[in-house]
Structures are given as structure tokens and as C-alpha cells.
């Protein structure tokens, strides 16, 4: 019996592998290979403009240089500030939006759909929109604030700090609804019985939110945080369209720096090192988040 059983099991696992194979192959070719190739490139010194330098293997030298590169330091600081600010704001806005569209009211379906519009707009288009809004001459922001007093119009994007905040604002506007969607899903799995029981116990609306909604929403919030952090780390289009990293490197983010070194300067090795560094940072952050989410789910199961 064990013999037949093992054949059957063997067949089953063979079938399983056959079915998984296409997905596995796609992942290997399109995800793992580029990552490994980038890593391999990052260990070389390659300057497209000077082919006579060849492809010399230099080990981790690009990474050491990266640690001492003031532009990379600036880009890392800007990227981290962007990630922290934008994800915090997106989560806060997303929570508010989710709570609103979770309520029952007339036209809720319409509002839920409308909320997603910013997310549906391609980032490049949204970036152009925001660039126009903060234009110094015909921008909407100036029109609203100053109306006809054209001499008071402010060139928003010409101030380093303001330009950075505008990039954050554009990202928050665009992706809060995505966070809201994830949080809404979290809200929907919270049983109404809990609220009813709390009401019987005399809990007010604020207490119900604080002691029921928020703790039970934690997995959804963490998931939204994970997605948004990973995305925010990869910010590129907003900077590319709106500021090109300026003024004075105030919006220089890591991905844009990587793009500049790779595509404009043709420093394939160094540019790859920048990309791999970003990849490693995102990877370690996601591992931390995933652990947090995992332990959180376990706790819930125990209770």
C-alpha cells in the first residue's frame, strides 16, 4: 500500500510542479534575473562613454563610494523624509476616507467610486496637473489665494522646502484613496455584534472607535503601510515631471538619482549599485513589516 501511495503522492507532486512551473518561470525570468543581473553589474566599473575602461570587476567598491557620495546622502535623506511624511499622511487621510465611505448614506456607491479617481489617473498626468496648480503665473493655487493681485503670486516650486512639500502633497492626494480601500476592507470584516455589545455596555462613539475599530483594524493598517512604504520608496515620476530633482537638490530622490547615473551619465555599475541599495532597503523594510503583520495575526488568533 505504501508503494502505491508513494507513486500517487509522487504523481501529485509532479502535477503540482507542472502547474506551478509557468508562474515560477515567469518570476525567475522577470523578477529574479534582473535583480541578480543588476547586482552583478553593480560589482563592475562600467562607463558607457569610455568603453576603453572595459568592464572591470571592482567588488564592492561602488557600494563604498555610495556610502561617501554626498549626492546619494542628500537623496537618501529626501527619500526617507518623503517616505515617512507621505505614508503617515496617506494613512491618516485613508483612515478618515475609509470611515466615511463605510457609513451607510445615499449615494455611497457613487462616492466610493469617485474616491478612486485620483488613483486611476496615471502619475505622470497627475504630476503635470500639480505642476500647473502651483505654476507661478497661471496656477490655481495662486488664483485661489490672491485672485487678481498678480504681483503677490508665489513661485511655489522655486523654494526648496515648498517644492518638497508639494511633491508630498501630490503623492498624498493620489494614493490616500488606495490606503482607504485597504482600510475599508479591514473595516468590513469587523463584526457589527462587537459594536452592538459595546453600545449595550454604554460605550460612546469615540470609545468604540478607540477600543474596537482601531485595534481590529491594525492588520489592515499595517498592510496599507507596507504597500505605501514600498511605493513611496520608489517615487520617481512626480520628481521627474515636476522638478527634475531641483531646486538645489531639494527633491532629489534615490530612484531619480539612480536613473540619472544609469541613463544619462551611462555609469552602469554605479547606477546599478544605487538601484540595488534601494532594493535592499525596500526588502528589509518589507521583512520587518511582514513580521509585524504576521505576529499581529497570530495574536488575534489566540484571543
Amino acid at each position: 500500500m505504501s508503494f502505491l501511495g508513494s507513486i500517487a503522492r509522487h504523481r501529485e507532486s509532479l502535477a503540482a510542479w507542472t502547474m506551478v512551473a509557468p508562474a515560477l518561470l515567469v518570476t525567475l525570468v522577470f523578477a529574479l534575473y534582473p535583480v541578480l543581473d543588476s547586482f552583478w553589474l553593480s560589482l563592475h566599473h562600467i562607463f558607457v562613454g569610455i568603453p576603453s575602461l572595459g568592464r572591470s570587476f571592482i567588488g564592492l567598491e561602488n557600494y563604498f563610494n555610495l556610502l561617501h557620495d554626498p549626492v546619494a546622502h542628500q537623496a537618501l535623506l529626501v527619500t526617507l523624509a518623503f517616505v515617512v511624511l507621505s505614508t503617515m499622511l496617506e494613512l491618516a487621510c485613508g483612515l478618515v476616507i475609509a470611515l466615511v465611505i463605510h457609513e451607510r448614506f445615499r449615494g455611497r456607491g457613487l462616492v466610493r467610486a469617485a474616491i478612486l479617481i485620483p488613483w486611476a489617473i496615471p502619475t505622470v498626468v497627475a504630476s503635470q496637473l500639480w505642476r500647473y496648480i502651483f505654476n507661478d503665473q497661471y496656477g490655481f493655487a495662486n488664483l485661489v489665494l490672491f485672485g487678481d493681485r498678480v504681483t503677490e503670486y508665489i513661485p511655489w516650486l522655486a523654494y526648496p522646502g515648498v517644492a518638497f512639500m508639494i511633491i508630498v502633497l501630490a503623492d498624498v492626494w493620489k494614493t490616500s484613496c488606495f490606503a482607504a480601500l485597504l482600510i475599508l476592507a479591514g473595516l468590513q470584516v469587523i463584526s457589527d455584534d462587537l459594536y452592538d455589545a459595546a453600545k449595550v455596555d454604554g460605550a460612546g462613539a469615540w470609545q468604540r472607535f478607540w477600543h474596537i475599530t482601531l485595534p481590529l483594524l491594525k492588520p489592515a493598517l499595517l498592510l496599507a503601510l507596507l504597500f505605501r512604504t514600498m511605493d513611496a520608496f520608489r517615487v520617481f515620476d512626480l520628481v521627474f515631471v515636476m522638478t527634475q530633482g531641483g531646486p538645489g537638490d531639494a527633491t532629489q530622490v534615490l530612484q531619480f538619482y539612480g536613473y540619472q547615473t544609469l541613463f544619462t551619465e551611462g555609469r552602469l555599475g554605479y547606477g546599478s549599485a544605487v538601484s540595488v541599495a534601494v532594493f535592499l532597503m525596500i526588502l528589509s523594510l518589507s521583512l520587518i513589516y511582514l513580521r509585524a503583520i504576521g505576529s499581529n495575526l497570530l495574536e488575534r488568533r489566540r484571543t
Binding site: V48, G49, I50, P51, Q244, P247, G248, D249, G266
Partner: protein, 432 residues
């Protein structure tokens, strides 16, 4: 009849098969030439020029791939194709700053045999010089550019000024005019120019630095010279007297098109741009100040010491092209006397052929050409290096930082940038 196929950033799948009557069995094989170009300001003029080519070369059809108007975006798209040894690129434009990179990387085909010394003599020497790298010549000059000062002729006349020779004079004139026009035109500013963090910033800052007797590199091209007193003083001048004073602080967000539009809408007395802006500024449909514009050399810091950055575009043939003969035929046609004249007359593009600067027809519509001739002859080139894109990023960063960030230490930033550029330059020298 042949059709010209215009594509927008993408290959074409079908090319019209035309059983035309004038094609005999003896004629050459049909060839599709791919010309990667930026998006031109005057689409129609280019369409007509290429239609003219295909009429005289019926076996060649020209497919144009249009990249964005921005030089850097065009560079990134084109070099991406060339890095991949893409055979679907035959003819392309090279910015004057790219020739060393394209030559060293082996992307551009040497044209020594085709672009003969006698042919070269017909072009402005400066434009032929930028097409050379090492022993070979890689580009045929399409158009030459140098920074020029555009100004409001009507306003200068009203306040009885003539075009300023120095920046001090320009500031003085601008202050008087802006103060005098305050009531009628409250948004009028003295100056409009591109100061955004991008390639154009390097072009314009070089004009201030060279106009002050400074430079970006030592003459032998081995050392960066931003921290020299001349260069520092020029940058200090822009930072203290131009940004937020002579020009709106908004100039820190302007590339060429935005700064030009400020001028065309009548919001600036003076404006820095390339020769092509003349056609747009005098064009009734695009400009609110048509007929009120003058153009001159950019001012200097002492009378007669002005400097203009050399710009412009060259035609090149890809090293991976499978139709170099047909590609050369297209380049010959587009850079011919007749085609350049058409571009000058209808698109305001400054020619690269010497003879056209004394062409009576052209001088009648573009009287400023004779002045351009002198400016173009003495224009200052940006550093010539295969790693120029990397040098430029460091320069853009430096200029933008010291202009945009209040209280930043200018001398320190200059020294840091010098050190970085020196490291890059050393790299090119150690190359075996």
C-alpha cells in the same frame, strides 16, 4: 508618389508598398531610413523638407521617430537604443555636447570619407570643430546656436536706451523701465531666463562665468575651475543681483519654453535664448510682443567682454545602421544650402553654412544674422568630454544649490564640486 510616415515614439509596422510607374527594374532596392529626432517647433517645415528628399530619392522612405523636445530626454531615449545596438536607428541628431560621448562609445560612425575637407570649409569652423573627436569627424552641422539677448525694443526706445553692453547697464535699464511701467504693467520684471536644475542652467551660467573672465575647466581640460575668483564672483552676481531681483525667483523653475513664454507675454524686458526664439517672438500668432523685439549679444561684466555658450545640433549616422549610404544622402540633403535656407526662412533656425549669413534673401527677413555671425564665431563651448553628462549633473547641482538655497556657503560648494569633477576627469585620463 511616396508617403512619409510619421510616427510618434514607436516603430511602424507597415510601409506602403508603392508600385509606382517611374520605378524601373534598374532602380535601387527600396530602403526604409529611420531618423530619430526631437519634436520640432515647426513640424510642417520638417515634413516638407523630408517630402522634398523622398521626391528626389524615390527608393528611400523616411520614417521619423519623434522623441521629447527636451535635450536630456532625447539623449536618454537615443542612447538607450544605441546601447542596445538597435539597427532601427539610421540618422540622429547629436547635441554639440554629445559628440565625444557618441564617438568614444562607438555609437556614431566616422564620416571622414563622406564629409570631405572641401565640404567642411563651407560650414562655420566652430560647428565643424564640435563635430570632431580625436582623429575623426562624426557630425555634419545642422544648425548652430549661441546664447543671445532678446529685449523689448519699444520699451528701450521709450526710455531712450540702447541694448546694454554690461550686466550693470542691463540692471540699471531694467530698474528704470520696470519702475516706470509699474502702473500699467505691474507684473513686468527685468529679466527672464532658464535657471531650473537642468542642462540649460549650465549653458546660461557659463555665459556669466565666461563673461567674467572665468571658465568651467582649465584650458587643457584636466581641472575644474569653479572655485577661482572670477567664476565665484560671476555666480555670486547671479545669486545676489539676478535671482529674485532682476528676474523673478520663479526663474528657478523655468526651462527655456517657460522663460520664453514669460517674455512673449510681455512680462520681461530682457530675455536670454537661442537664435530660434526670434521667429517665435516675431510671430504674430504666438507672441503678444511681435514687432517690439530686438536682439543683441549677451552683455558682459566689462564693455566688450561678453560671452555666449555654443549650442547646436549635428547630424550623425548610427554605427549600427545598415543603410549608411542612404543615411548620408538624407544628411547631405538636409544640410544643403537650399534646405538650410528654407529652415532659416520658415523656422528661424540659424544656419551652419557660412554663405547663408550673407544671403540677401535671408538678411532681408533676419537682419540680426550679421550680428549672430560674430557671436557664433566666438561662442564658448561647454567641456568636451565623453563623461560630459556626468560633469553636467554636478554643475547643475552646484548652480541650483547656490542659487536656490539661502545662506549656503558658495566657496565651499564650489570647492566640493571642483573635487568631484576632477575625479571624473581623472577617470577619462586613466582609461587605457
Amino acid at each position: 508618389m511616396l508617403l512619409i510616415l510619421l510616427t510618434f515614439c514607436g516603430p511602424v509596422s507597415d510601409v506602403p508598398a508603392q508600385p509606382s510607374t517611374d520605378r524601373t527594374a534598374a532602380s535601387s532596392h527600396p530602403v526604409i531610413l529611420r531618423f530619430v529626432s526631437w519634436k520640432p517647433d515647426h513640424q510642417r517645415v520638417w515634413d516638407e523638407a523630408i517630402a522634398g528628399f523622398t521626391k528626389t530619392h524615390p527608393h528611400i522612405s523616411v520614417v521619423r521617430e519623434l522623441a521629447p523636445h527636451s535635450s536630456t530626454a532625447y539623449h536618454d531615449l537615443l542612447t538607450q537604443k544605441l546601447k542596445n545596438r538597435d539597427t532601427t536607428v539610421d540618422v540622429f541628431f547629436m547635441d554639440v555636447i554629445w559628440v565625444p560621448e557618441f564617438a568614444a562609445a562607438g555609437w556614431a560612425r566616422p564620416l571622414d570619407g563622406r564629409f570631405s575637407p572641401t565640404m567642411r570649409e563651407e560650414f562655420l569652423p566652430a560647428t565643424v570643430a564640435v563635430g570632431r573627436y580625436g582623429e575623426h569627424v562624426y557630425g555634419v552641422p545642422s544648425r548652430i546656436d549661441a546664447g543671445l539677448l532678446y529685449y523689448r525694443q519699444d520699451l528701450l526706445t521709450k526710455y531712450s536706451f540702447t541694448a546694454p553692453a554690461t550686466w550693470e547697464e542691463l540692471i540699471h535699464q531694467a530698474e528704470r523701465i520696470v519702475a516706470g511701467e509699474q502702473s500699467g504693467n505691474p507684473t513686468l520684471r527685468g529679466y527672464s531666463a532658464p535657471f531650473k536644475q537642468y542642462e540649460g542652467l549650465v549653458c546660461h551660467m557659463l555665459e556669466f562665468i565666461a563673461g567674467h573672465g572665468g571658465s568651467l575647466l582649465t584650458p587643457d581640460g584636466t581641472t575644474s575651475t569653479l572655485a577661482t575668483p572670477e567664476a565665484l564672483a560671476a555666480v555670486q552676481f547671479v545669486r545676489d543681483r539676478v535671482i529674485g531681483r532682476l528676474a523673478s525667483r520663479a526663474a528657478l523653475t523655468y526651462q527655456e519654453p517657460e522663460s520664453l513664454s514669460v517674455f512673449l507675454q510681455g512680462h520681461a524686458v530682457f530675455h536670454r535664448n537661442w537664435p530660434y526664439a526670434w521667429e517665435l517672438a516675431t510671430n504674430q500668432t504666438r507672441s503678444t510682443i511681435a514687432g517690439k523685439v530686438g536682439v543683441a549679444s549677451l552683455p558682459g561684466f566689462a564693455a566688450g567682454e561678453h560671452a555666449a555658450t555654443l549650442g547646436g545640433w549635428l547630424y550623425g549616422i548610427s554605427a549600427y545602421s545598415q543603410h549608411p549610404d542612404e543615411a548620408w544622402a538624407l544628411i547631405e540633403f538636409l544640410s544643403s544650402q537650399a534646405t538650410q535656407k528654407k529652415f532659416a526662412q520658415e523656422a528661424g533656425i540659424a544656419p551652419s553654412r557660412q554663405a547663408l549669413f550673407s544671403d540677401p534673401d535671408l538678411l532681408a527677413t533676419m537682419p540680426q544674422l550679421s550680428n549672430h555671425f560674430a557671436v557664433l564665431q566666438s561662442a564658448t563651448a561647454r567641456p568636451r568630454s565623453p563623461v560630459y553628462p556626468a560633469i553636467s549633473h554636478l554643475l547643475q547641482r552646484y548652480f541650483s544649490r547656490v542659487l536656490a538655497i539661502d545662506g549656503i556657503d558658495l566657496a565651499q560648494e564650489a570647492a566640493i564640486t571642483d573635487a568631484h569633477i576632477d575625479r571624473l576627469l581623472a577617470l577619462t585620463r586613466t582609461a587605457p
